[in-house]
């Protein structure tokens, strides 16, 4: 089934050798998607190479790998047909800074002897190309991260119908805020705001028809970096937890702090933030705020900035549906609600903020699909 000389060309009509992975090596996190075949015939099972089996066992044995690897079990998708095979898609992530331990692990599981194929996207696909070749004898098939992103979104949406897209109602109201599913069957045109370490904003006009229209360097990486400096927290989860407990009103200067009330002439209510961290130049005020307040202010600033840019781009592009993805939104309902509110409020209800369950994994999925592209095409012809 797989030879030792195994360079697999994508133009080959036979399927690539197992295991099938899609990998998105981003600035902060690496996202891995693993396809576990469930339709192995007895003959196949017998001839399966030991290392492929051991990899499968290892990945399924737990949801935590080492100290920093995680498998998001709640995102697992069963009964998918990819590349003419039926199986389950697993979603795994680990920090890109742990790439070397990952390569060592892969080597120890025998990946180097299998000469299988991994498709990779994200900047790291270029940056770590040499390391992959050297450590595990793998050439990475590289795909553009934004192409993969779009491909991944459209595939998952098609296969997780009625469950993938959602939005919030009453986002401002803590007690009555509700998550509702959204029907994305007629998507075009829509805006994608991908919030990773940094932000990319894409306009999607039709299948395979998109353009990167804008972006900003103030993204998840900025939030985490600033939080670590301001509060000495160690992880993203910790930062979010701190933010959830804090209040930004003591840190940020609001319109009412400057005007004594609303600024009616231009419709700016007294509670709108006029200057983020605007109170922090005062020693007295600095001594009164807590770590939680600082974390909350950082989250608010970054989120509102992204929302503001997204809104302006949507107005320019004349698009009403804004889809927010990326791992910044993982376990971060605060930002999701803030974005929902901002889109709605500043556009007077014209714009809608939409979110997807698989958050930051679309690039990796798109990559996997690219690997099996020929199989997919073949499969569609067979039906």
């Amino acid at each position: 089934m797989n030879g030792c000389n195994g360079y697999y060309a994508l133009s080959d009509s036979s399927p690539p050798p197992m295991p099938w992975f899609g990998m998105d090596i981003g600035g902060t996190l690496t996202k891995l998607v693993y396809f576990e075949p469930k339709d192995l015939s007895e003959a196949e099972e017998a001839s399966e190479v030991e290392s492929v089996k051991s990899i499968r066992k290892y990945l399924k044995s737990s949801s935590a790998y080492g100290e920093t690897g995680h498998r998001d079990i709640h995102l697992q998708m069963d009964n998918l047909i990819i590349g003419k095979r039926k199986g389950t898609l697993h979603f795994i992530r680990f920090p890109t800074s742990e790439m070397n331990p990952f390569l060592a692990l892969a080597k120890s599981k025998g990946l180097a002897t299998m000469a299988s194929t991994i498709c990779a996207t994200g900047g790291g696909a270029y940056k770590f190309e040499e390391d992959f070749k050297r450590e595990v004898n793998l050439s990475l098939h590289k795909f553009d991260e934004l192409d993969s992103l779009i491909r991944g979104i459209e595939y998952i949406e098609d296969n997780n119908v009625d469950k993938e897209c959602y939005y919030f109602v009453n986002s401002r109201d803590q007690d009555n805020c509700q998550k509702c599913t959204y029907d994305f069957s007629n998507p075009y045109p829509y805006l994608i705001v991908n919030i990773g370490s940094g932000v990319s904003i894409l306009s999607v006009y039709g299948p395979n028809n998109y353009k990167r229209v804008s972006g900003t360097s103030l993204g998840g990486g900025t939030f985490l970096g600033l939080c670590c400096l301001l509060t000495s927290c160690q992880t993203f989860e910790e930062a979010i937890e701190l933010a959830a407990k804090g209040n930004n009103h003591e840190v940020d200067k609001l319109v009412k702090d400057i005007y004594g009330g609303d600024y009616d002439r231009f419709g700016l209510g007294g509670d709108v933030v006029a200057s983020s961290f605007g109170h922090m130049n005062s020693k007295e005020k600095r001594s009164k705020v807590s770590k939680e307040d600082l974390a909350c202010a950082t989250l608010t600033t970054i989120t509102n900035n992204i929302g503001s840019i997204a809104r302006m781009v949507a107005a320019n592009e004349k698009i009403e549906k804004v889809v927010f993805v990326g791992n910044f939104l993982r376990v971060n309902q605060i930002s999701m609600r803030m974005l929902s509110h901002a889109m709605d409020y500043w556009s007077n209800g014209q714009l809608k903020a939409i979110f997807l369950e698989h958050e930051g994994y679309f690039g990796a999925v798109g990559c996997l699909l690219e690997l099996l592209k020929n199989q997919e095409v073949q499969h569609k012809k067979d039906i």
Binding site: G123, G221, S232, M280
Partner: protein
């Protein structure tokens, strides 16, 4: 030592309008205008417009804690010519309060005897001083939190010359015009006429753009000189005005009366100042700027080349572009020694805002 020729001689020379940027060791600068007169083949005279100020002025001593955070270009002499002030206007913003007032300045002008030949006069043979009066616009700024002390000072020094002030009201704008109106009336006895800040901003901008030569300039990092003055021909409209104060307002100005606030952001000067105070030991805004000028942001920010190992050609993003501001700052807590300094943080912060 070369002597300066008389005005008649100068008038015959070729002249070029120049602007000089005078930078002090803290990086604050003033731009002074003048003319360079060229006397072929090798000589040139530089005449600068520096105004003369009466020395008998009251000086606000630096021991008083009125201005501590923002450095003013002329040390000590803050409220010049206050005794002859004719009209006041005040803009009380989120962090800073700006006062503009106009008063008269005595001006000593050199007058030459135009009958004498120009070539046989010696330099320094100045015959007459002419005294004249000029109206000048003065600008002062200080932190809004010291507004009460400032009003006290102004009130003390206006006591003798209240008659020179035209009218019984003072125009005020900015949020503070609403917040501090009562205080101003109580201290200075003027009625406060509140004006909308955006309207004033645009009126002021239009006035300066139209009437002051060399008001607007373009900055080109790689050119020499970096500053290039431009003029708006034939009309100054339409233009986009981005007002960066504590926060930011973006305005579209189409004509004298037609303008719209089209957007804004809460990430402005206040954010830079506030976060700067939290993240560094800088003692003030100017200190922060100085720190930023010494740092290297690449130790703190994640660049495209840190993610891609080079340029991201597909979408035209060069390797040196910042992909994620402060993207490297999260690694400080992994126990490894910090690989960036306060100066690096300050610079990164400046770029972020």
């Amino acid at each position: 030592m070369v002597s300066c020729p008389g005005p008649a001689t100068l008038r015959m020379m070729r002249k070029i309008r120049v602007s000089l940027k005078i930078v002090d060791k803290l990086g604050s600068f003033s731009v002074v205008l003048g003319h360079l007169y060229l006397q072929e083949p090798q000589l040139a005279y530089l005449l600068l417009e520096i105004d003369l100020v009466e020395k008998e002025e009251e000086v606000m001593s630096s021991e008083q804690p009125y201005i501590s955070s923002i450095q003013l270009p002329n040390n000590g002499e803050v409220f010049r010519n206050l005794k002859r002030a004719k009209r006041f206007a005040i803009d009380i913003g989120g962090s800073l309060t700006k006062i503009a007032y106009y008063s008269t300045v005595s001006y000593r002008k050199v007058s030459y005897n135009s009958e004498q030949g120009t070539n046989d006069e010696e330099a320094g043979d100045i015959h007459l001083y002419e005294s004249s009066e000029l109206e000048r616009l003065h600008f002062v700024k200080f932190e809004t939190k010291y507004i009460e002390q400032c009003l006290d000072f102004v009130q003390k020094h206006l006591v003798n010359c209240k008659d020179s002030i035209i009218g019984k009201s003072i125009k005020a704008t900015g949020g503070g015009a609403y917040k501090y109106a009562e205080l101003i009336t109580k201290k200075l006895g003027f009625i406060v006429e509140k004006e909308d800040e955006i309207c004033c901003l645009i009126k002021g901008c239009n006035f300066l753009l139209r009437n002051i030569p060399d008001e607007q300039f373009v900055y080109c990092k790689h050119e020499d000189p970096e500053y290039r003055f431009v003029n708006s021909e034939p009309s100054i409209f339409p233009y986009l005005l981005v007002n960066i104060g504590s926060g930011v307002s973006i305005l579209k100005v189409e004509s004298e009366d037609k303008y719209e606030r089209i957007g804004g952001t809460s990430m402005g000067g206040g954010t830079f100042w506030g976060l700067g105070c939290l993240l560094t030991k800088a003692k003030g805004f100017d200190d922060l700027l100085q720190l930023a000028s010494e740092g290297d942001h690449r130790n703190v920010d994640l660049l495209v080349k840190d993610i891609y190992g080079g340029d991201y050609d597909t979408h035209g993003l060069s390797g040196d572009i910042i992909a994620s501001s402060f993207g490297k700052a999260m690694h400080i807590s992994t126990g490894s020694s910090k690989s960036f300094s306060e100066a690096d943080i300050a610079r990164s912060l400046l770029f972020t805002v």
